[in-house]
Amino acid sequence: MDWWFWPACLFVFTLVIGIIAPISGVGGGVLFVPLTTAFFPFHVDFIRGAGLIMALTSALSSAPHLTKKGLANIRIMAPIVIVSIVTSILGGFIGLWITSAFPEGKYYITILLGVVLFLIFIVMMTSKRVEFPEVKRVDSISEKLGIKGAWYEPTLDRVVEYRVTNMKIAIPAFAGVGFIAGMFGLGAGWANVPVLNLVMGAPIKVATSTSMMIITVNDAAAAWVYLSKGAILPMIVIPSVVGITIGARIGAKLAVVARPRIVKYVVLAVMLLAAVLDIYKGLAGLGYVPKMF
């Protein structure tokens, strides 16, 4: 088999993920790591490294535009990332330590990835989105920091002002999310958005945009761990980033025309399959079940 076979497959695969992600509303970063771990021959270290760079690139590409519009807000991000930077670095460090310290570490990580994917599946199936949540009482931290913002909403033809609350509950939640993102190289929009929207009361557009801003900081901090361990391979990163970038542009255009709900359920079913495959692959590696192939 020629050397370019798998990188070419990776390019096509990420192109498809990029197209599907905006249509289904499921983040590309969340799909990339578990599916690549299940179907490609690369070690999970390099897949996590590539996943992290992919999520970082996507977030960096959209965050500036959203920030200029007033949708992503550094006032919300700053108190959160003070904690989540530490946990995301810790996650990256522990994840790479497990695979290098234990001969069977790769399989433990693969099983854990499957379990996390189940968790993500449940969150995506059950969490709701509130367009404009009502914040009746601002918490003391948000009050002292003067966290507020505004953006022009074209569907309402007016400027919408917002405030947030429950910072004391949100910060530990973001700490956990940062750890998972760093450890598995996953994008974290699946968890950031519900916490910002449902717990803190940020309008959904502000939640999705500020989530991007948080991902830029968390993933960039964790990326240094992967860089310092040599877990970033251009042969895996480049086809992935190029594929998902082109795919996302096509997907964004298609999403404007049609966004059938069935696509979301098909993607969630694929996610569930990847979770099962990852757990099976890990258990097979440890010798608890027979290998598939």
Partner: protein, 137 residues
């Protein structure tokens, strides 16, 4: 479209991030594609394919006979396209830090403190591997 006054802190953050993202993407993708097309790099494409199923530690032992501690593996080999491509990734990974630094200048006193903590954490994340290596880990 109605005008919204965006916090100057956010504007500085966005402008810096935008510039560094473009720069990082170009520097990552152009040499990266050249590496994939030519097949020659610090680690040849054949060696990568033979060893990409191994853990990072085993990969570097098998391909170059080295253990990786820090950033010298790509900084000392910038004449190769694969390592040059990693410089693009470095710029992307430093973009949020530079954006936070830029926004600190226009922040109020409370946010100056918060953002300074973020900057310190980020800098520690970058230099931590160098200290750990010197310390013999």
């Amino acid at each position: 479209m109605k005008e919204v006054k965006v916090d100057p802190m956010n504007t500085s953050f966005a402008k810096t991030m935008e510039i560094l993202t473009y720069l990082g993407l170009v520097l990552m993708i152009v040499p990266g594609v050249a590496y994939l097309v030519m097949g020659v790099g610090y680690v040849s494409t054949e060696d990568v394919v033979k060893n990409w199923g191994k853990s990072t530690k085993e990969f570097w032992k098998s391909t170059k006979g080295i253990e990786i501690h820090g950033y010298s593996w790509f900084l000392n080999n910038l004449s190769y396209f694969d390592c040059l491509s990693v410089i693009g990734i470095v710029i992307l990974a430093v973009a949020p830090l530079a954006s936070v630094v830029a926004s600190t200048v226009r922040a109020d006193a409370k946010y100056k403190i918060l953002l300074l903590i973020v900057i310190v954490e980020f800098v520690v994340a970058i230099v931590r591997p160098l200290f750990m290596y010197v310390a013999g880990h």
